[in-house]
């Protein structure tokens, strides 16, 4: 096991800059999630750590070694791919044993370690099957088995669950987390699913367009997003983001109507106000709106309404009888309103 240090790393594909100046510190044994929209450079960064892409600038260290110029096999990492990349012509056991064979591990050792890894993942009964004879979830598990069999210093995952159905995804998510708690191997996990990131990570790194927007513990990011992008990206349903103008000591909407938010001290000009849906409740007075959409999930209910601030989504814990077309009022929990600078998008405070 080892820490991973990424310092001012850049990646250039010809004229395209996929990663510009990214630095991340990953302490030994931690589980770090890289999240961000499609094309932001998550996979590229992961592949540079794995040694599958050249590094255009900066430095990557695993433990105390600079690995920039080491081929993948000398980096002592294991990777799980989105499409699993199981070797189709090898049985599950052979798939798991391949890395050990490449390293010249003795046959008895190979057998023992394959069995042990299979035991950890409940794969024993599948050892003689070929990948094509496995379900998606089983393949996923084999791909993980292939990674853990070697006890590498670092695990790299590139959207390992995105090919699974929703239910299996939740289940595997829990399994991966338990596996990490058991093995305590440093893990870097790429996903575009922020719930995955929230539930599994010790630390989340939010990326956009090849740079880091914010990094921190999941709840840190949730409670104090550093900018509008992170605010909108982390959390589901997403935070309500309302364009506003601070003028004459009041907060106005873009159509110049008064908004029911406290004006933060010293604010002026354009701002963005953010409120998470769970911090909005139905009330007898407050922000008026007309209901557009009601989405009950059983556990809670999402109500979307048109207001002077634009469409607002509220998450209601209790069952409700409101229906589309109804006129309602929202109470906004002022303690939980986030303010962002209108121009830079940065958090104000």
């Amino acid at each position: 096991m080892a820490s991973v240090a990424i310092e001012s790393v850049r990646k250039q594909y010809g004229n395209v800059t996929a990663i510009r100046d990214v630095s991340i510190d990953i302490p030994d044994g931690k589980f770090v999630c890289l999240v961000g929209p499609s094309g932001c450079g998550k996979s590229t960064l992961l592949r540079m750590i794995a040694g599958l892409e050249e590094i255009s600038g900066g430095e990557i260290r695993i433990g105390s070694r600079v690995v920039n110029d080491l081929p993948p096999k000398e980096r002592d990492i294991a990777m799980v791919f989105q499409n699993y990349a199981l070797y189709p012509h090898m049985t599950v056991a052979q798939n798991m044993a391949f890395s050990l064979r490449m390293r010249g591990v003795s046959k008895s050792q190979i057998d023992e370690r394959t069995k042990r890894a299979a035991g950890i993942l409940n794969l024993e009964y599948l050892l003689d099957r070929y990948p094509r004879q496995l379900s998606g979830g089983q393949r996923q598990r084999v791909a993980m088995g292939r990674a853990i069999v070697r006890s590498p210093q670092v695990f790299l995952f590139d959207e390992p669950l995105s090919n699974l159905d929703a239910k299996l995804r939740v289940q595997m998510r829990a399994e991966i987390k338990q596996l990490h708690q058991r093995l305590k191997t440093t893990t870097i996990y790429v996903t575009h699913d922020q719930i995955e990131a929230m539930t599994m990570a010790d630390k989340i790194v939010v990326m956009r367009d090849g740079i880091i927007e914010q990094e921190g513990a999941p709840l840190e990011l949730y409670d104090e997003p550093a900018n509008v992008f992170v605010a909108g990206f982390i959390g589901s349903p997403a935070m309500n983001l309302i364009e506003a103008i601070a003028e004459g000591g009041a907060l106005l909407s873009t159509s110049r109507e008064a908004l029911p938010f406290d004006l933060p001290r010293g604010a002026s000009g354009k701002l963005t106000c953010g409120v998470r849906p769970e911090h909005i409740a139905l009330a007898n007075q407050g922000l008026a709106g007309q209901v557009l959409l009601v989405e009950p999930t059983g556990l809670d209910t999402l109500v979307t309404a048109a207001t002077v601030a634009g469409p607002i989504v509220a998450l209601l814990r209790e069952r409700t009888s409101v229906a589309p077309g109804d006129h309602v009022h929202f109470r906004i929990d002022q303690k939980h309103v986030h303010y962002f600078d209108g121009a830079s998008g940065r958090r104000l405070q």
Binding site: R10, G57, E59, V66, N68, D69
Partner: protein, 307 residues
């Protein structure tokens, strides 16, 4: 590169390695293609360059002697017989290729709509003459169709056809040679066209069907235009193959009667290895190679635009 731009210091070891790694990656690719490229250069490119050099010299006892410029070429093109051979070859190739292409196209269009083992069976049978050696093919073709006591002759006689005299009549001999060329290449041409047909996206037809196009309209609006490149590729392959085929004229007709079926490839072979006239043979060979190069260039263009 960006070593200087990296703000954090790196160890000297990493510094040198950084320059080596991309290079090594590149070398790996070059390393893998080198044996093949070297082999191709040695048996395809070098001999042709060498041949061109030789063609400018007087060749005696398999050695290049004094430099004579374009004399070998001049000698070849002033030989009136040579031009007869060129014209004959062009005609032979054009007719054989056209026949083959037309038959192959109609048959493959038909087979393409068949499915299952019958379609495979037809393909396997039809490719037979291409897969059997050209010597055996030519020999058996002659034995059955040219031989005056052969099976073909017998059937023709039974049908009351008596003008068919491939051994003595020049026109018939040429027809037989064309027939052999079609027989030999038809199956291969068909397979090429079939694979072209199979790669036409099926949804084009479905869309056309929905739009109410008739079978004939689908053929002319979708199939044939989409098949253009495969047809051209087939055309090139057939031309190269027929232009350079020696076994056919050598064995089926022997170039005769008189010179009636003496085509370029046979002429080349005879000049070099029967008359041992390497001077004119090498000039002819280089000329044919130039023609092949043109066809090869057309081929690469077509393949590129297709793939």
């Amino acid at each position: 590169m960006s070593i200087a731009a990296a703000p954090h210091g790196t160890t000297p070891g990493a510094r040198t390695a950084r320059r080596i790694r991309p290079l090594r990656l590149r070398l790996a690719g070059v390393g893998y293609v080198t044996p093949a490229m070297a082999l191709l250069a040695f048996t395809l490119i070098l001999p042709s360059l060498y041949g061109f050099y030789y063609s400018l010299h007087n060749i005696r006892y398999l050695k290049a002697n004094e430099f004579i410029g374009l004399e070998n070429y001049r000698y070849l093109v002033t030989d009136p017989e040579f031009w007869h051979v060129v014209i004959r070859s062009t005609g032979f190739t054009a007719v054989a290729v056209t026949f083959t292409l037309v038959i192959a196209l109609s048959v493959s269009l038909w087979i393409n709509q068949l499915h299952g083992p019958f379609a495979l069976f037809v393909q396997i049978v039809v490719i037979l003459p291409w897969v059997v050696s050209h010597v055996v093919g030519a020999l058996l073709f002659r034995w059955v169709f040219v031989n005056d006591i052969g099976l073909g002759m017998y059937f023709l006689e039974q049908m009351g056809i008596h003008w068919f005299k491939p051994v003595s009549d020049p026109t018939t001999a040429m027809a037989v040679l064309v027939g052999f060329a079609c027989w030999r290449t038809l199956g291969f041409a068909m397979l090429l066209l079939l694979s072209g047909l199979k790669s036409i996206p099926q949804d084009l037809y479905e869309a056309a069907h929905v739009d109410g196009a008739t079978a004939r309209q689908r053929l002319f609006a979708i199939t044939l235009p989409m098949l253009k490149t495969p047809m051209l590729i087939t055309l090139v392959i057939l031309t190269v193959s027929n232009l350079n085929n020696i076994e056919g004229p050598l064995i089926v007709t022997g170039g005769g009667p008189a010179d009636a079926t003496n085509v370029l490839a046979l002429d080349l072979y005879m000049r070099a290895f029967a008359k041992f006239d390497y001077n004119s043979a090498i000039a002819l060979g280089i000329g044919m190679f130039a023609a092949n190069i043109l066809l090869a260039l057309a081929y690469t263009r077509l393949v590129k635009s297709h793939g």
